[in-house]
Amino acid sequence: MLLLKSIVLQWLYVGLMAPFLCGVIIKTKALVVGRVGPPLFQPFYDLLKLTRKQNVYSQTTTFIFRCAPVVVLSSLLILSLFIPLISQPAPIRFAGDILMFVYLLGIGRFFLIASSFDTGFSFAGMGASREAFFSCFTEVAFFMNLIILALLAQSISLSQMIGASTPLSWPLFGPALILVVSSLFLILLAENGRIPVDDPATHLELTMIHEVMILDYSGRDLAAMLYGAMLKFLIFAGILVPLLVPVRLGQAFPDLLVFTAGLIAIAVLVGIIESIMARLRLNRVRHLLLAAFALAFFGFIVTLWSRL
Amino acid sequence: MLFAIVAVPFFSGMLMFLPFSKPVRLWFVLGAAFAHLVFCGCFWRSMPCSEFNEFLTLDPLGLIVLSIISGVFCLIAVYAIGYYVHEQRSNRTFCACLLFLLASMTLVTLCNHLGLLWVALASTTLFAAPLISFHRCPESLEATWKYLLVCSVGVALALMGTFFLAFAGHEVQTLFLSDIINGKILLSGRWLKLAVIFMSVGYGCKMGLAPMHSWKPAAYGQATGMVAALMSSVVTLCSFLAFCRIGQICAKSGLSDFYSSLLFIMGGLSLVIAPVLILGEGGLKRVLAYSSVENMGILVLGLGFGGLGVFAALFHMVNNALSKAVMFLTAGSIAQKYGSTRVSHVRGVVHAYPVTGVFLLIGLFAGTGMFPFATFHSELMVINAAIISRHYGLAALFVASLSLMFIGMTRIIFEMSQGPATAPVLAKQENFWMNVAIALPVLALVILGLWMPAPLEIMLRKAAGLLTPGVV
């Protein structure tokens, strides 16, 4: 019963927080350029509007196109249970859950790419090819970070790595942790299709990656896909925040507040980056991702060196 | 008894010159072959005593070679009956020479005197020469001439070696093998070494070992299937028997490691040259000739390893004779049907003639030592002997040359057996007698591969005991 209560609480918190973060990003982008921008809860209204809309399916699509949103959304909902809300332990925590974490992302990605082929149009194929290409780099970099965290925390469970009662001490592992955090931040940008890698707001066919794969969705399917993307942003941010917060207050509620503040800070940072930077040329993105991997690899060398 | 087994084929050979019709002569040849086989059968039961004041004796080694000779000769006789159904030429000289060849080969296995051994071997060369020039066309005559020339020079060198051997005995100049073996006379080192070198080079030419192998592709290429089968499986065995006799002498007089190093050089060379040259070949019989060169190399190497190696070499001698018979007889029937055995002319034999095609593939797998066939065991035992006697370099060479040979042979035989069937030039249907003659050795190989009959194993052990005093 305790597990059920923590799952419901987690989902409640994450479910509301995800669209809110998306609203924060859009709001910061608007404020930075002096616009008032849409209200903070605009994503909520969009999602509700979409759920009332009808689905339009093209003739060339098969059952893959219809079940892709279901798989993507449910895998991301499961993934949200892996994240410890700082002192609140994650509902799902066991040795080796990082593997489950990565491969659940994988199954979501498989159906997303397959559905983009299903529409039978070349732009979706272009997006799928870029998604498959970039995911190779991000996944390897992500695993590199997991290796470092496993070495530092001497355990292979995600909640042990980032949600432990005594956090990874910055003075002891300072240099490695800085590299891990920066590499994870780059991975966050790439995985969620933020500015340096891909422009979420653009509709120019040749430049889209994540947008183009869900171009053909409508109604509830589109709502599921958008909500999944928001969840994904929260999950990746949720991994980053506990590493940044050096201290644990002990009680559940204040830690939760700190966690929320951390999430909002990351959302604001992403918003700022999106307004000041332009999208990188596609063959330059590869170097950015290799940079993320290099940072992580350097961190790995540092941890090995310290253990020598 | 021993004299009878030599006399029967010889005199029936003489009878061949009387004006019989073609089938009668062939049945006569089959009769003589069968009589010869019966003689061998009763030799197996009871070992005969030596005759003709010590010139003819029969020891286990000789008996094994004799039984192989009569066995293969029966196959050839059966095959000839089927072959001559479509052959126009008169077979007078052919049958006569076949029987004389049988007589001289029997003499080789029986003789106890090295001079007599030389005479018998020289006569096998002479009687085999007319068999090669069967077709009277320029190429077969050239091949015969090349065969005659190289073998006569080789035999001459062997004669010189025999004389050196006799001379090595100082006062008691005897060439009786039994005297030398029982240690009656003391052989001086230097003369004996010279004699061994001359004899092994001489008999090496006759056997077709590496540097002296050049006549084999031409001779086997031109001879008809059955003559090539006879020569490759049996005639070369006689010279291998001479090698064994030299081995006995060297073992007795303590020169066995000198002799082994000689054998390693010759065997090693054949294992190197044959696989390289086979890759460039285009004709089936020429490919099989190189395979025969390589198998002779294997026999000689086995002899050199000593101990288990000798047993393996003798067992391989039996298997090699059978597998070469299968392969060359099949090549002969293909040559009769297509008029040629070149890869460019013959395709899809499996489709045109299913039985011959299957035999072709079986011959390939038997020749290269695949599982169910006995050659698999004998080749493995030779490699095992190599590793046991610590000749790792030779074992590696052995393994490498076997695989290259496998590539060379499969390349040709698969090209011929599969693919779209080319129209046979002389469209004839399969002949019963020829297929029986090929089926028998295949059956023997499979039986030997799965189960070793007890009498053969005992005889092989006794024969190996002659060569290496150690317990095998």
Partner: protein, 218 residues
């Protein structure tokens, strides 16, 4: 006394071999070969200073008869059809082959000396001369393109070997002697038959220029 006769015959054998190498016409080669076999045949007589046993006589007689008379006649029968009697084009000229043969004789003597083979009681000249005769026969066989001259070369080699055998042995069983003679004789006979076939087939081309298409497609 006896050794001088043996030495003389050995020298004579080598000299005759040299002259065969030098001769142009095939008929001349065969006559010289007949003379050489006669000399080799006589060696057993010198060996035992005329105290010959019954079978020694028989051996001498048969050797001389078969090698000096019957074999040359067979060869003459064989070359009956060959139109050009002369050697058209030996691989290396007569002058060059003589030089090489001199060299070969030197090699034979050096080999006989360097091997220090014990027990050459009878005469120390026999081994080198027989080796020389064998090498000369080999040289003749290798450098001539005519089939008949190759046969003569092979027979000169046989004579060399026989020289060694007859001069050094006394207790050689009669049967083996006869067997060896018989084999050499049959060899010549078959070679002659094959040469006949070749002549019928090619009529004009010499032996070695035959490289036409592969007949029975090996």
């Amino acid at each position: 006394m006896m050794t001088t006769w043996i030495n003389a015959s050995c020298i004579l054998v080598v000299f005759l071999a040299l002259s065969i190498l030098a001769s142009y016409r095939m008929a001349g080669m065969i006559h010289l070969f007949a003379a050489q076999s006669l000399v080799v045949g006589l060696v057993p007589l010198f060996l035992r200073q005329f105290s010959l046993s019954q079978n020694d006589l028989m051996i001498v007689a048969i050797t001389i008869v078969s090698k000096s008379f019957i074999t040359p006649n067979i060869l003459f029968w064989a070359i009956r059809h060959v139109p050009t009697r002369a050697e058209v084009k030996p691989l290396i000229g007569i002058g060059a082959s003589l030089l090489v043969s001199a060299l070969l004789i030197a090699v034979a003597f050096w080999v006989a000396a360097s091997l220090q083979l014990p027990g050459l009681s009878k005469s120390n000249l026999v081994l080198p001369c027989s080796l020389a005769a064998v090498l000369l026969g080999f040289m003749l066989l290798v450098t001539r393109t005519r089939a008949i001259s190759q046969v003569v070369g092979y027979l000169v080699m046989e004579n060399g070997i026989f020289l060694f055998a007859l001069s050094l042995f006394d207790a050689m069983p009669i049967l083996i002697e006869m067997g060896i003679l018989l084999d050499v004789f049959v060899a010549v006979f078959i070679m002659a038959i094959v040469v006949n076939h070749i002549n019928e087939e090619f009529s004009r081309q010499p032996m070695t220029l035959v490289r036409s298409k592969m007949g029975e497609n090996t």
